[in-house]
């Protein structure tokens, strides 16, 4: 391992070591605040290291990792998102009875897994990243073990994730068996020489799609999403919805582009059908749902469906659109779950529609932020979600994917209904008593509040002046 190699993988080491540091710290003394600060600091430091020392040229650590603009961008995105999740976690866990500290270890490890995913160029690193992410998530989902639903969600996710991992692994084995390579570039080389795709290879890809589809909660592998979102603690849900899916999406984009899957009608058709099904089923499932977490789960199914439109468009613009949309989607989702976490009390998460009734009049700022997030999810101008969706549609139109694009438009219209419904509930006249005083010291909420404020500012900034974000994406992704 050369020095440059080492300098490149330092972000991964930093995450690992901070996890270990926290373990030590716990063994000395359990201090929620301290550990929380360590976690946040490690994410910040990691991010800054990444930004400062991002290799100007592509750097490959054979055979596992590749540090290119796309990878660095996604890793940065994942780190920032994890940071935001950490921020909203503090207040959320402060009022729980369980031991809070180990949660941060898991959070860091899960982030590590996702970070490995986005820079991997080999089946082994893919598998490792995926499993580090998944195993940490099992525990995180079931972290609040007093809650029955938490356990149920944990076990469901565990069995099904393992089940889908088996699919991915078997698929990888088949691919390996046919191509003799576990490196993406090797597979690509094999494909570029092969006259057509061998059946066994196709089967392998198909099985990998099943696994990937599960992680991305694409229809028909989506059914876990709602239950897990509902059962998991709100910050964890935010994490699953963003980091876990984003990492997988980045990997998919990288792999598909490298092997140039666009050449194969069968793959494109499969993804097209999955995309359309995801949009439709996701939106329709959310339509009359009254549990906000489940709504967000279903809506995330649909959103990944939207993402696939740009993914299928491919090309530089497609990748840019995917990246931009991920940014917008991350901001929005973390924001929404952040609000949800802030509103949750000791016993349960604020997930029923009733919890939001008249929120605007009780807690105007909170409601305003949540409205902004929901409007962004709905793709209304002035928000990042609008520009993101615009980008997706632009990529699709640019590539003449009229079917997908029109499905996107149709589904956006359906989607409006349930986002607006939450907003409408918040705007209902509230005749009840005033909000009970917070059980915790208000200063606890400052961090969450600031995070929310930053997120909403970003949301509007990117929505009103997207040029900056687009520049960033272009410089990274196209490098």
């Amino acid at each position: 391992m050369s020095k440059t190699d080492f300098l490149n993988v330092i972000p991964l080491f930093m995450l690992t070591s901070s996890a270990i540091l926290i373990m030590f710290s716990i063994s000395v003394k359990r201090n929620h605040k301290l550990i929380y600060i360590i976690t946040a600091a490690s994410f910040v430091a990691d991010f800054f290291y990444l930004v400062m020392y991002h290799p100007k040229v592509k750097w490959v650590i054979e055979p596992l990792f590749i540090f290119d603009g796309f990878g660095v961008f996604n890793m940065g995105l994942i780190l920032l998102t994890a940071l935001a999740v950490t921020m909203i976690s503090y207040a959320y866990f402060e009022q729980r009875e369980e031991r809070k500290e180990e949660y941060y270890i898991l959070l860091i490890l899960a982030t590590l897994g996702a970070a490995v995913l986005v820079i991997s160029k080999h089946f082994v690193s893919l598998f490792l990243g995926l499993e580090i992410l998944s195993v940490s998530l099992y525990a995180m989902i079931a972290y609040l073990r007093r809650r029955e639903r938490s356990d149920e969600a944990g076990i469901k996710y565990l069995i099904m994730a393992a089940f889908s991992s088996a699919f991915i692994l078997f698929g990888m084995a088949l691919v390996y068996a046919v191509t003799g390579a576990m490196e993406f570039s090797g597979i690509a080389k094999f494909l570029s020489t092969a006259p057509q795709m061998p059946l066994l290879l196709l089967t392998g890809f198909g099985m990998m799609i099943v696994g990937v589809g599960f992680k991305l909660s694409l229809v028909p592998f989506h059914m876990w999403a709602a239950d897990v979102y509902e059962g998991a603690p709100a910050p964890v849900t935010a994490f699953i919805a963003t980091v876990s899916k984003g990492g997988m999406m980045a990997l998919l984009v990288r792999f598909f582009n490298l092997v140039d899957g666009y050449r194969y009608t069968s793959l494109v058709v499969i993804f097209t059908v999955i995309a359309i099904a995801s949009m439709l089923v996701g939106n329709l499932l959310a339509l009359r749902q009254r549990n906000v977490k489940r709504i967000l789960a279903y809506s995330s199914i649909a959103h990944i469906g939207y993402l696939l439109v740009a993914f299928l468009a491919g090309g530089a613009m497609g990748i840019e659109a995917v990246s931009f949309y991920l940014v917008a989607y991350f901001i929005t989702t973390v924001g929404a779950f952040g609000i949800l976490a802030t509103l949750s009390d000791r016993d349960r998460d604020a997930e029923q529609m009733e919890d939001y009734q008249g929120l605007l009049w009780r807690r105007p700022l909170t409601a305003a932020i949540l409205s902004a997030m929901l409007l962004s999810l709905a793709g209304i101008p002035l928000t990042a979600g609008f520009v993101g969706k615009f980008y997706l549609v632009a990529a699709g139109v640019n590539n003449h994917q009229w079917l997908l694009v029109s499905m996107l438009a149709l589904n956006s219209a359906i989607g409006l209904y349930y986002y607006i419904r939450i907003i409408a509930v918040m705007f209902e006249r509230h005749e009840g008593e005033e909000e009970p005083a917070d059980m915790l010291h208000p200063s606890v909420y400052i961090v969450s509040g600031v995070t929310m404020a930053v997120l909403v500012a970003l949301l509007l900034w990117v929505g009103v002046y997207p040029e900056w974000m687009m520049d960033v994406i272009k410089t990274y992704v196209n490098s």
Partner: protein, 627 residues
């Protein structure tokens, strides 16, 4: 003098605006002063202009105020054009209007809407003046609709009675049907001439079209549509009898003297087009002939004093249309003027009767008023005589006689027109004197309240005088041969062409008409004075016909079934908008799909795993199929 022209409509308008803005805060006397005074001033200016005009009737006055609209060659202006034809009209409008205003001061004295009434009335006079003075058809249309509005407002003047509102609405909507036809006519005219200036059209039309041109016919028929609506001619005549819900001065001014003759004005004004479209012109005659008969017979059966007069008005305008139909333009206008005098007189008289009888409209409950109300009786009698065309002494005789003669002898006349007019004349004198006998003769059935004052009697007397002497400005060949009137309007309205070989024999027709008039009076006398029992017998033997005539030949019921009911049915059935069902269907469809999908999220893990497996099978099979 030309410069004063704008004042004629502007003065009543100013009066109306003052009265509207003050909204009843002025005292009654002040309101009356503004209302009647402004029309009086307008009449005065008309007189001044008239004197200047009469010196040389061939001269026309023209005044442009401002350009109304100017788009792409479409350039109607606010401009007035005064020629002999409009002179006659503004004379009648301002003078009769002024008299009726005077009358109204007393008639409406106790009404709480006193100033509102004068506001409307002034607005009406203004609109009517604009109608007849307009130099282009768009401005004329403004006046045309304006009078419609005022008619609506005045019919429904007593808004507390719901049915008055309905009557007003009926009048407005039915005339609007005609107006719409007219508007379409205007579109066609504009398309062909690139202008809607009346004089330009009239000069260009003969150069553009040959006689019998289809376009000319279509346009003429569309204009006729407007005319029949406004003038309550077949088939749009049904609104006028109901319009009697308005106060009597309104009936006199709007629904007898002026507005309802706007159709006559329109056709006379655009006579060039009608001459180019003989078919359309013939239809004018046919409509006139049929209407005058139908309305005449209906008038025979009415018991409401004002409804008799209403049907009579329809019938008399039928005469005018008949005259227009045979090309006797000046006769139609002459009859319009005389009719304005005597019909206004009759309505005002009827109003006075109704007023003193505490709003009793039923003639059968009147009677014996001859001695109680001598002034009203005599003036009413003169008006009736004029209406029935009592030979030689009344103006009505001369104006109607001319129409009868030309219906026969005019180039476009024929036997049928003539017969219709003749029978109509006979019927007219029957219903007229039936009305007179029932109202003023016999025994007194209702107590007479207060007596009419000067403001009521003076207009009556003036109009009575005019109804008598008005005819002497135009006498037939056989009787003195005076052609003051037709000479006056000749620059605008050409004389009628005579049918070859029909020059003689005018006296025979006059004699027949005179005889029929007298016979009619005798019939009325016989049935209503001498042998009332016979009348009842007749009535019971003709009960169906009677009812049919009474209802105005069933037109109301017919339109009700044909148009009103289907429209209302359609509208109310679809009140909730069937189109919305489509969207509701979409929504409920989506909800149903949602429910189906939600069933799949049943919480059972094995089921979810099944989903993944199905997905895997699907992915693999698509892959296999497509390779």
């Amino acid at each position: 003098m030309e410069a004063l022209l704008w004042l004629i409509p502007a003065l009543p308008l100013a009066g109306a605006v003052i009265l509207i803005v003050t909204a009843g805060k002025l005292s009654r006397n002040l309101s009356a002063l503004v209302g009647a005074g402004s029309v009086g001033l307008a009449a005065l200016i008309t007189l001044i202009i008239g004197f200047g005009f009469i010196a040389d009737p061939a001269h026309t006055f023209h005044q442009t105020l401002w350009t109304w609209i100017n788009v792409d060659g479409f350039k109607p202006t606010f401009a007035f054009h005064l020629d002999a034809l409009s002179m006659v009209f503004i004379f009648v409008i301002t003078f009769v209007g002024f008299l009726i205003h005077l009358y109204s001061i007393e008639f409406m004295h106790d009404d709480e809407g006193f100033s509102r009434f004068f506001a409307y009335l002034n607005l009406f006079v203004c609109s009517m003046l604009i109608l007849v003075l307009a130099d282009n058809l768009v401005l004329m249309y403004l006046g045309w609709e304006g009078v419609g509005l005022c008619s609506y407002l005045l019919i429904g003047f007593w808004y507390q009675e719901e049915k008055n509102g309905y009557a007003a609405r009926k009048a407005f909507i039915i005339t609007r049907v005609g107006d719409t036809a007219m508007a379409i006519g205007l579109f066609m005219l504009f398309q062909h001439f690139g202008t809607l200036n009346i004089q330009n059209i009239l000069t260009q039309a003969p150069q553009t079209w040959t006689i019998g041109s289809e376009t000319a016919t279509a346009i003429a028929l569309l204009l006729l549509g407007g005319a029949v609506g406004k003038s309550a001619q077949l088939p749009l005549q049904t609104w006028l009898p109901d319009a009697m819900a308005g106060p009597s001065p309104v009936s006199a001014l709007i629904h007898a003297a002026t507005m309802v003759t706007a159709g006559v004005y329109l056709i006379a004004r655009t006579h060039v087009i009608f001459e180019l479209a003989p078919v359309a012109q013939q239809w004018v005659g046919i409509i006139g002939a049929v209407t005058l008969l139908i309305a005449g017979f209906s008038a025979l059966t009415q018991f409401d004093l004002k409804r008799v007069l209403a049907y009579s008005t329809i019938s008399q305008i039928g005469y005018m249309f008949l005259a227009l139909g045979v090309g006797a333009w000046s006769s139609a206008i002459f009859h319009f003027m005389i009719h304005a005098f005597f019909k206004a007189l009759l309505f005002l008289g009827a109003g006075a009767v109704i007023l003193v009888l505490h709003h009793e409209h039923d003639m059968f409950k009147m009677g014996g008023l001859k001695n109680r109300l001598p002034v009203i009786y005599w003036t009413f009698l003169i008006g009736s005589a004029s209406l029935a065309a009592l030979p030689f002494v009344t103006a009505g005789f001369y104006s109607k006689d001319q129409i009868l003669w030309l219906a026969w002898a005019g180039e476009k006349g024929n036997l049928w027109f003539f017969l219709a007019a003749l029978i109509g004349a006979f019927v007219t004198s029957i219903y007229t004197f039936r009305m007179v006998f029932l109202t003023f003769f016999g025994e007194e059935k209702t107590h007479v309240g207060h007596h009419a004052g000067k403001l009521i009697t003076i207009p009556l007397i003036v109009l009575a005088v005019l109804s008598l002497v008005g005819g002497f400005i135009e006498l037939p060949h056989t009787l003195g041969h005076v052609e003051l009137f037709s000479g006056f309007v000749k620059p605008v309205l050409p004389a009628v062409e005579m049918r070859p070989g029909a020059e003689s024999g005018e006296w025979i027709i006059q004699l027949t008409a005179a005889t029929l008039c007298l016979a009619g009076i005798y019939v009325a006398y016989y049935f209503y004075m001498k042998r009332p029992d016979l009348r009842r017998e007749l009535k019971s033997s003709m009960i169906v016909t009677n009812r049919f005539w009474f209802s105005g030949w069933g037109f109301d019921a017919l339109y009700d079934t044909l148009f009103v009911k289907p429209f209302v049915y359609l509208s109310t059935r679809n009140k909730d908008d069937a189109v919305d069902r489509i969207y509701e269907g979409i929504v409920s469809g989506l909800n149903r799909v949602h429910n189906v999908f939600a069933q799949t999220q049943n919480g059972v893990m094995r089921w979810y795993i099944m989903g993944i497996v199905i997905g895997a099978i699907f992915v693999l099979s698509i892959g296999l199929i497509l390779t």
